[in-house]
């Protein structure tokens, strides 16, 4: 196998890891919406914490993204 073929295959395999973070973020946002439904007056506070949580859950997908561009 040429190195070029292996390199392109590696780039493709990098991107298969992103479904995990998508599932995690969907779960997190769903829980945040449920919490807003239970207690609508805390909406601002819950929303800003949800944004921080989404940025953290996104970080493993970002590592895969960087690896994709570096390979």
């Amino acid at each position: 196998m040429d190195p070029e073929v292996a390199r392109l295959l590696a780039k493709g395999i990098c991107t298969t890891s992103m479904w995990g973070s998508a599932i995690g973020e969907g779960y997190l946002i769903g829980k945040a919406l449920e919490a807003i439904g239970r207690n609508p007056e805390m909406e601002g506070s819950i929303f800003s914490k949800m944004i921080i949580g989404v940025a953290m859950a996104e970080s493993t997908a970002i590592y895969a993204f960087v690896a994709f561009f570096i390979i």
């Binding site: 506070s45 800003s48 914490k49 944004i51 921080i52 940025a55 953290m56 970080s59 970002i62 590592y63 993204f65 960087v66 561009f69 570096i70």
Partner: protein, 267 residues
């Protein structure tokens, strides 16, 4: 490249060295850090000249931003003492990272200055050196603050939990083995400190570097409306990543100081 595509230069992971001052190379991201410092210092000087007890528009906006940052920090620390102690560090961290994430977007001709064929300015957080320096210095700061407050032996006993083994074996053999497991968990905490440095730096670097790379790829694909949507997303992500970095540093600091009982902020 046909007419709907624009050929742009892909960013490289390593920054380009412009010149050397003695043995130290000066890179393009260092020049941008100095530019950001000059902008912030000029801003503070101009603000200080016109400061007054009844604020006009400009000072009002600055006060709104100040109060937003203070609210963010209050939600993490739940303690006025720690907010007052941490605010200079965390606020300047957030402002510096937000400015360096956004300086590429808001000053659009910044990439065109060039010196001997190499471009002079590059967003500092898209360079791995800057983000590792910031993350490493924050984690080292938290370690040194913990040593300063608790003394070095008590700080090391967070990681080498000998007291768990001794206390466990005093209660019985079964408890003793649980104590050995807790000792192993304490050792894993050392690895988690290293993981914090890596995750803080890689999160910021990855968002900024991959954002720039994707902008170049989109320009090469279809240059008309598509890169503008990505740049909007990149502005939002710049603010959010700055806020996440600052909040995580504050949260790690509060964890290291030992979580105090959350008290109501009397306001």
């Amino acid at each position: 490249m046909s007419w709907i595509q624009v050929a742009a230069e892909k960013p490289s992971v390593a920054p380009t060295t412009l010149f050397n001052i003695g043995p130290m190379p000066v890179t393009d991201s260092m020049m941008t850090v100095w530019l950001i410092l000059i902008i912030v210092i000029l801003f503070c000087v101009v603000l200080n000249k016109k400061i007054s007890l009844f604020p006009k528009t400009f000072q009002n906006i600055v006060e709104v931003v100040y109060e937003m940052l203070e609210n963010l920090l209050n939600q993490i620390t739940s303690s006025k003492f720690y907010t007052a102690k941490l605010f200079p560090l965390i606020a300047s961290l957030i402002i510096f990272i937000a400015l360096s994430n956004l300086i590429g977007t808001f000053i659009p001709f910044l990439g065109s200055f060039s010196f001997a064929g190499k471009s002079i300015f590059r967003s500092p957080t898209s360079d791995f050196n800057t983000t590792v320096a910031l993350a490493l210095s924050m984690i080292l700061l938290i370690q040194f603050q913990s040593i300063y407050r608790f003394g070095i032996l008590k700080h090391l006993s967070n990681y080498f939990k000998f007291h768990e083994i001794i206390g466990g074996f005093k209660n019985g053999i079964g408890e003793g083995f649980l104590g050995i497991i807790n000792f192993g968990i304490g050792l894993l905490d050392i690895i988690s400190e290293v993981a914090r440095v890596i995750s803080l730096s890689m999160r910021l670097f990855g968002n900024m570097f991959a954002g720039e790379m994707l902008a170049v790829v989109l320009l090469g694909g279809f240059a008309y409306v598509l890169p503008a949507t990505w740049m909007t997303m990149s502005i939002l992500s710049g603010f959010i990543q700055a806020m996440v970095f600052g909040s995580l540093t504050a949260a790690y600091y509060m964890l290291a100081m030992g979580g105090e009982e959350p008290r109501e902020i009397k306001e």
